[in-house]
């Protein structure tokens, strides 16, 4: 089995993140709180902290792996950076200067900046000012025509990729004087200023979600709500794009495991594996979950029977009490749309073989590809 751990934390999980040693998980149970659980022996999860400061749904969490800071963003338009002092988590308010909800957040690779995508058609890049003991938010304005659904940092700590509901994927420079240093020879072109658009990719004609860079930063991938996934090589003045059409429902988020393997998650409730062959051509390989309602017709049947069960005496619950796992009935580990995928061993240079997914069914699933022999060649 590729899924090594399944745990239902809530009715719905909007997002989750792992502590640096992966013994703790921070997640939002679809409300204004962030819950931190610690794993004790034998897969028991114990809630050790509840972070309460936001007053609307928390839409993004990221836990920095070196400095052990948690950043959260919420529909209340604010962001907090949480620092652990002795046993308590102490919040610091970051004023984002937004007039719409914040939707996603990610720490930069060096963890000296973080980026927030928002419904205000702007991206905030935040950094710490030592002399004022204060997080400052710098905005990239007037570049997006709609909400920013996802942000992703290039390994060089300067380039930031965004996707938006205007259908476009864009790459910006986020060079901030005094925070970033210009390295001669390597790295991005030295003339790029903060907020400068490096490239705009115009491949999708509808909402775009879930952008990520490959580990080297040579390729990026993002998905469209029209059941397409786009792979872009040579991001710069003359990008090379590939698009792969999916047979089934659209994806919401992606994760590169290596230069040649990508996992996509979304409305099909089952992670999808994409691989690149020797010539660099990307294609869909298979679903990761063990069982899958094969034909789409069979799936619509199961959805119907679910509604049927709810209407007539809740027979679904009767079955699940009979020690048959409910997931079996639906043919998957997740029972609803997966909207978040996070790598588990994220040390620089090491291969990612473990990752976790969470979704609208409130489950967090840990996947391990060590025993998936057909995939190891690509990793």
């Amino acid at each position: 089995m590729a899924a090594v751990s399944v745990h239902k934390f809530a009715d719905c999980v909007t997002c989750h993140a792992w502590s640096p040693d992966q013994s703790m998980i921070a997640l939002c149970p679809n409300n204004d709180e962030v819950h931190i659980y610690r794993r004790s022996e034998e897969e028991k999860w114990e809630r050790i902290h509840v972070l309460q400061k936001h007053d609307q749904i928390v839409s993004g969490i990221d836990w920095s792996s070196r400095s052990n800071k948690i950043v959260t963003v919420s529909h209340d338009r604010n962001s907090y950076v949480w620092n652990q002092e002795t046993t308590e988590w102490v919040p610091t308010l970051v004023i984002l200067r937004l007039n719409r909800a914040a939707l996603c957040v990610q720490w930069s690779p060096k963890e000296n900046k973080f980026a927030v995508g928002s419904g205000a058609k702007t991206v905030c890049v935040c950094y710490y000012e030592q002399e004022n003991n204060w997080w400052v938010s710098k905005l990239i304005r007037k570049k997006h025509d709609s909400s920013v659904t996802s942000v992703a940092w290039h390994p060089n700590n300067i380039f930031l990729a965004t996707t938006s509901t205007d259908g476009k994927c864009r790459v910006f420079s986020t060079f901030i004087k005094g925070v970033d240093t210009r390295e001669a020879g390597s790295g991005p072109p030295s003339d790029s200023k903060f907020g400068e658009q490096i490239v705009q990719l115009d491949l999708s004609f509808c909402w775009a979600f879930g952008v990520k860079w490959s580990p080297s930063g040579n390729t990026l991938a993002y998905v469209g709500h029209n059941s397409m996934i786009y792979f872009v090589d040579d991001v710069g003045p003359s990008p090379l794009a590939q698009s792969v059409a999916l047979r089934d429902l659209p994806l919401r988020d992606v994760l590169y495991l290596s230069e040649r393997v990508l996992i996509g998650v979304g409305f099909d409730c089952n992670p999808m594996v994409f691989v690149a062959d020797e010539s660099g051509l990307w294609g869909f390989l298979r679903f990761l979950g063990e069982r899958k309602a094969a034909a789409s017709s069979a799936k619509s049947g199961s959805q119907f029977s679910e509604a049927f069960g709810k209407l007539y005496g809740q027979s679904r619950y009767g079955i699940s009490n009979n020690s048959v796992q409910p997931s079996r009935l639906h043919g998957g580990i997740h029972e609803n749309c997966i909207n978040c995928i996070v790598p588990l061993n994220r040390k620089v240079g090491s291969k990612v073989t473990r990752f976790s997914t969470s979704g609208l069914d409130g489950r967090v699933v840990i996947w391990d590809l060590q025993n998936q022999e057909d995939l190891l060649d690509y990793l």
């Binding site: 004609f205 909402w207 469209g224 059941s227 397409m228 089934d248 429902l249 034909a295 789409s296 017709s297």
Partner: protein
């Protein structure tokens, strides 16, 4: 002004092409090759142009070919996957007409096409608001 002229010239050229296509389809149908006729109708569809006359002219041609399909099963033995997305868009255009025989035929093909091409094909045709047919 200049760009409007280009657009108009372009539209005339497209309409002329569609007329040529229409004659070819009639002859294919006479030879009892409905699938070839449908392929010809779908090829060179003008989704990029904004000109509604071109879109309507091409729809008339595609409609003629769709209605000539008798055996839906064998259609999909011969129709290559690259036609699936564009055919789905025309099926939805057919369903939007509300005309009984057209809708019946479109639904019959829609069922088989969904089986073949999956829900992704439906999403691509519904989500694309730029390249409409």
């Amino acid at each position: 002004m200049a760009s409007e002229h280009v657009e108009a010239d372009n539209a005339e050229a497209i309409i002329a092409r569609i007329e040529h296509k229409s004659r070819k389809i009639e002859s294919l149908l006479k030879q009892n090759k409905p699938v070839e006729a449908l392929k010809t109708a779908l090829e060179g569809s003008p989704p990029k142009t904004k000109d509604e006359r071109c879109k309507s002219a091409n729809w008339i041609v595609v409609h003629r070919a769709i209605m000539a399909i008798k055996d839906v099963e064998s259609l999909f033995f011969a129709l290559d996957p690259e036609y699936y997305d564009i055919l789905m868009k025309y099926l939805y255009r057919g369903l939007s007409t509300g005309d009984r025989p057209t809708c019946d035929q479109c639904l019959r093909i829609h069922e088989k096409l969904t089986e073949k091409a999956g829900l992704g094909c439906i999403l691509r045709s519904l989500a694309d608001t730029v390249n409409t047919v």
